[in-house]
Structures are given as structure tokens and as C-alpha cells.
């Protein structure tokens, strides 16, 4: 490929299919970070996220002939990655269940500081909104969601995916998927309420 010339995804796909393996490099370099962000949010740690990214681009390469070029490559590889991520979480959950270790949020699957599990002492929810503790608390709450719920909320909230797109990854229908998104938000809310509202109450002077 000529240096300095930005090739479109469609051309890069076409060239890869004609045997120009380096053309695939353009696609990998262009879309890796987006896939990584999604994978990190679903998997909860960098190691698993990197594994998802690599495996997804490998799978996309192998299935490239099936990618008819009638969709956006970025969307397509994102979907492959979401499918793989959800499988990986299920596998990880199954492995953890097999080891019979009681699943406690943030112990090993997520990089959560155990201290953050302790009801913390920081002041108002406004200040907490950007705090590391809240982020860690949220991470732990996400880890408690089912793989489908976690995938749904990540795709919906951060990546703005449509319900149909999420339903395709979950192999579900639109109504069930809407319900999955709702359940995810509801569970996150339940997990965070004591934390957020406790602080709110204290900030309002109703606590000690």
C-alpha cells in the first residue's frame, strides 16, 4: 500500500481478500482501540480485554470472506468481539463456579481494591461522581451482572448501540433485550444506592 494514503475499510478488506495480508494491518490498527474499550468494560480487566481484541481480529480475518462488504467493518469486528467477550465471561464464570470459590465482587476477576468495598467516608455524591472509589464500586457492581446484562449495558450506554444490534449479539429479541438493559440498570442502581444515597443523606445532615 502506498505510504501516506488513507485507504478506506472497504478497500482494505478487498485487498486482504485478494491475499494482501498487510492490508489487514490497517484494519487492526484502526479499530483496535474501540474494540479494546468495549472489551475492557465487559471483561473488567486489561489482560482479558487484550485477549478479546486479539482473538476477535483473528476471527474476523478467518471469516473475512463471510463479511460481504455490505456492512461497516468496524461494526462487524465490534460485534465479533462482543460475541467473543460474552462467551469468555460465561466461560470464566463457569470456571470460577467449578473451582467452588464463592464469587465475591472484585476479588480476582476484576482489578478492584478490596478497601473500596468498605463503606467509604468521602463526602457528597457530586464529589464522588468522579472519584476512584465510585469507579471501583461500579466495577464491582458490573461484575455482579450476568454476562448478557453486562454486555447489554456496555453496548448501550458507552457505545450507543441500537437495541437490535445488542439483540443480535445476545441472540435475543428486541423486547427481551430492552428488558435486559433495564435489569442491568436496576441492578447497578440497587448495588450503588446504599453508597450514593447514604452519602446523600449524610450530606443533607441526616446522618451522624
Amino acid at each position: 500500500m502506498a505510504d501516506g494514503v488513507e485507504v478506506s475499510d472497504a478497500i482494505a478488506v478487498e485487498r486482504t481478500l485478494t491475499g494482501d495480508r498487510d492490508a489487514y494491518r490497517v484494519l487492526v490498527e484502526r479499530h483496535s482501540r474501540t474494540v479494546y474499550r468495549m472489551a475492557y468494560r465487559i471483561m473488567g480487566n486489561a489482560h482479558d480485554a487484550e485477549d478479546v481484541v486479539q482473538e476477535s481480529f483473528l476471527r474476523a480475518y478467518q471469516k473475512l470472506k463471510q463479511f460481504a462488504g455490505n456492512a461497516n467493518f468496524g461494526t462487524w469486528v465490534y460485534r465479533i468481539a462482543a460475541n467473543y467477550a460474552i462467551d469468555r465471561i460465561r466461560q470464566r464464570n463457569a470456571d470460577e463456579a467449578r473451582r467452588e470459590t464463592p464469587s465475591r465482587p472484585g476479588e480476582d476477576s476484576l482489578e478492584v481494591d478490596p478497601l473500596s468495598q468498605v463503606r467509604d467516608m468521602s463526602p457528597s455524591p457530586e464529589r464522588l461522581a468522579g472519584s476512584a472509589q465510585l469507579a471501583e464500586r461500579m466495577k464491582a457492581a458490573l461484575a455482579e451482572l450476568s454476562p448478557a446484562e453486562r454486555t447489554a449495558i456496555v453496548m448501550r450506554h458507552w457505545d450507543g448501540c441500537g437495541i437490535e444490534e445488542i439483540a443480535a449479539v445476545l441472540k435475543s429479541n428486541s423486547n427481551a433485550t430492552k428488558n435486559t438493559v433495564f435489569r442491568a440498570v436496576q441492578k447497578l442502581r440497587r448495588a450503588l444506592t446504599p453508597f450514593l444515597e447514604g452519602k446523600e443523606a449524610r450530606a443533607m445532615g441526616t446522618e451522624g
Binding site: E29, S32, A46, L134, I153, L170, F182, L188
Partner: protein, 262 residues
């Protein structure tokens, strides 16, 4: 005043509600629901507070360095595994039959008397009938396995990896037969093979482990399209043609207008 439910407010916040105007009007008048919405909003704000470590500007390049050597390896491994065990036998059979059909096709183009041309066409058709009959038999097995897979109560995931591998093989075969059927002008066969390809691809591209709900979705598609039935009818027609080569082709035509999107 009747308050809006949590589900309605989450749907409103998420932009997924048909009652957008009504809920907005209610929120204008109801302080309690506004507070509830604010609490919901705080959850979304907390989601945004969860940072993702930046993997660095050169991350894409690093991913490429990691996977580039594996792109070749993977291919080699794929071919290695492709040419072992049952796949070898299945593929060998398909290739032999397609070559035979091709040779028979070429034969008919030689300047030979009419009677011989008809015989060669019959041989070619017979080869296709036998090969596709065999292919449909194996496809039927895959569909039956999915239809009859026991769903155990409380089961969290159903592993279909074995069925998927067979579906992958069948997709390749299916395409070869579809092309041959197209050349032969057998539209009924082309239609059935089209439908089969979509379902086989669906099976092959599903996750190895399906939730019972996802599994049920695939099963429903097979049922709704009456695929197993169609496969059986076409296969039966082919069996009859095999037994009586002069019989007319099967009339069971799953026409395009009857097809549902997979």
C-alpha cells in the same frame, strides 16, 4: 397522582419509550418522579465515572505484531485439522462427486450422438442426486440434533461446539452443491440450499455455548421455517429419483416468497 415506574423512567432516560411526551409532561408536574429520575441519572453518571485505561497510541500496532504471526499459523492449523479424520472423508467424497459431475458435464459437450448426450446428462444428474441426497442426510442430522437436544432444567449454557464444527463443513459443501444445482437449472434445489446455508451459517457463527434462550431462538427458526420438513421432502424426492432415474424432479419448491429472513 400516579407515579411513573422505575422501568418507565429508565426507558425514558435510555430513549427507549413510546410514551416520551406523556412521561415528560408527568415529570414537569411531579417532583417525586423528577427526584427518582435524578437518582437514576446518578447511576448513569457513575457508569461514566468508570475509566478505561488508555492502551496507548501504538496499541493497534502492538495488536498487529501479536496477531500477524498467528494469521499464517491459524491458516495452517485450519488446513491441518481440515484434512484429518471425518472431514477428509467428507471432503474427498464431495470433491470426487463434483469432479465426476464436471467430467460428465464436459462429456456432453463433445460432438456425440443425441442419445449419448442424454445418457451423459443423466449420469451427471444422478451424481448430483446421490451427492446432494447424502449432504441433506447429514444436514438433517445436524438440524435434528439441535431440535432434539435435551434442555436440562437450570442449565445455564448449552454447548453446541461439536454441532457447529459439522455445520461449518456443511456450509462449504452446501455452496458447492448450490452452484452445481444452479448450473443444472434445478431452482427447487437452489432455494432449499439457500435456506439451509443461512441456517447453517447461523449455527456455525453462534457462540460455542448458548444460553437456553438463545438456543431456543435457533430452534424456533428451524421449526418456523419447516426446514427439517423441507429437507426431508427434498431428500425423499431425491431418493425416489435415485431409485427411478427417469422420474420427474421433486415439485416441492420452497419458493422465495415463502422464505423468511433468517
Amino acid at each position: 397522582m400516579k407515579h411513573r415506574t422505575e422501568e418507565e423512567l429508565i426507558g425514558y432516560r435510555d430513549g427507549e419509550t413510546k410514551e416520551r411526551v406523556e412521561i415528560a409532561a408527568h415529570l414537569k408536574d411531579c417532583a417525586e418522579c423528577r427526584d427518582e429520575l435524578a437518582r437514576i441519572e446518578a447511576v448513569f453518571a457513575a457508569l461514566d465515572a468508570m475509566p478505561v485505561p488508555d492502551p496507548g497510541e501504538d496499541y493497534g500496532e502492538r495488536v498487529w505484531q501479536r496477531i500477524a504471526p498467528r494469521l499464517g499459523e491459524k491458516k495452517a492449523r485450519w488446513w491441518e485439522t481440515f484434512f484429518v479424520t471425518q472431514r477428509l472423508a467428507a471432503l474427498g467424497g464431495v470433491v470426487a462427486l463434483v469432479i465426476l459431475a464436471f467430467v460428465a458435464g464436459r462429456w456432453t459437450r463433445q460432438p456425440v450422438p443425441m442419445g449419448d448426450q442424454t445418457d451423459a446428462a443423466k449420469v451427471r444428474e444422478r451424481v448430483l442426486v446421490v451427492a446432494v441426497g447424502d449432504h441433506l442426510g447429514r444436514t438433517e442430522m445436524v438440524l435434528m440434533e439441535l431440535e432434539n437436544a435435551p434442555a436440562q432444567k437450570g442449565q445455564k449454557a448449552i454447548n453446541i461446539s461439536e454441532t457447529q464444527r459439522r455445520a461449518e463443513d456443511l456450509v462449504e459443501e452446501n455452496r458447492l452443491y448450490r452452484q452445481t444445482a444452479l448450473k443444472e437449472g434445478d431452482q427447487a434445489m437452489v432455494s432449499t440450499l439457500d435456506e439451509l446455508e443461512r441456517v447453517l451459517l447461523d449455527i456455525a457463527n453462534s457462540p460455542d455455548e448458548l444460553t437456553p434462550a438463545a438456543f431456543e431462538t435457533i430452534r424456533k427458526r428451524i421449526e418456523e421455517q419447516g426446514l427439517l420438513f423441507k429437507v426431508r421432502v427434498v431428500k425423499q424426492g431425491l431418493d425416489e429419483r435415485k431409485a427411478n432415474p427417469d422420474a420427474k424432479p421433486v415439485e416441492n419448491k420452497p419458493r422465495g416468497t415463502e422464505r423468511k429472513k433468517v
